[in-house]
Symmetry: C2
Subunit: 134 residues, 2 copies
DNA sequence: AAAAATCGGACTATTGTTATCCGAATTAAT
DNA sequence: ATTAATTCGGATAACAATAGTCCGATTTTT
């Protein structure tokens, strides 16, 4: 398994939708209906993206969200991080490496790290803008 | 999340161990003890790798496993497939694409596929041999 | 015959993901 | 002021996937 969560998938799709409607405040309801994403789940996702600076919210009636930045400068890596997830392929590459109870028997850390860095490069170099270009 | 399963992680580490002891038949018990991997779980993993041609088993006392091929020609992508898992980042890129109930509202298939292909390239070009070079 | 190993199926425990619910706060329009 | 539409935020439930365990059968060497 090497799958992105629905939170990330929906998040990216929602950001893509917002990028394609830039200038307008878009409500969670609109995105939910247009993209057939469960409303409550999407709301949570957008709230997290707002909290972490990827989008800006406007509360109250007529409220909704707008992209905080140029789609060209928002990377998939940043979105994943903003959604409070990560893209780490094996436990031992997590920040708190000392935490891994396999550290003493681990013989794959270095080679796995090479692979990880290449994946990071891809995620750091794919932006929301690329999702807008259909 | 973009994590490899323990089955894959243990599998790769076990193959790496076998590559470093090539020529010898290695038992699941030995690998389990040396690498501190749960025996039953590892056994299952090795049996699947055997069934799908990555390693060759020898039954009975003095039995165990040997790599079926040159470590240089066994890729991570092949290992994942042999373990009957996959490395597909979003559902809609699975083989049975028609199966995805979001196909009609999906606006991310093409861009996600580009990312997927780049990841596939990495997995197809990383071999067990690279895990042996410490 | 015994011992040490693979084989294979079933099962359980644990965790992680996905989805839902509900009440509170905010804001615009009436 | 009131109402309506929205975001906010915490709790919880339903579901799925992962990880780990157990046990008996089979194979093969000694
Ligand atoms: S498995 Fe934790 S250090 Fe590699
Ligand atoms: S989400 Fe299934 S086709 Fe894209």
């Amino acid at each position: 398994m090497l799958k992105l969560s629905k939170k990330i998938e929906y998040g990216i799709q929602a950001l893509q939708y917002m990028a394609n409607n830039s200038g307008n405040v878009i409500s969670a309801k609109e995105i939910s209906e247009q993209l057939n994403i469960p409303y409550d789940f999407l709301s949570k996702t957008l709230q997290i993206l707002n909290k972490n600076g990827i989008i800006v919210s406007q509360q109250g009636i007529k409220g909704g969200y707008i992209l905080a930045r140029d789609p060209k400068s928002t990377t998939v890596a940043e979105i994943i991080k903003a959604l409070e997830e990560n893209a780490i392929i094996v436990d031992c590459l997590a920040e708190d490496e000392e935490n891994c109870d396999r550290i003493n028997v681990c013989t794959i850390k270095n080679p796995m790290n090479k692979l990880q860095e290449k994946i990071n490069y891809l995620l750091n170099n794919t932006t929301i803008a690329e999702f807008s270009e259909v």
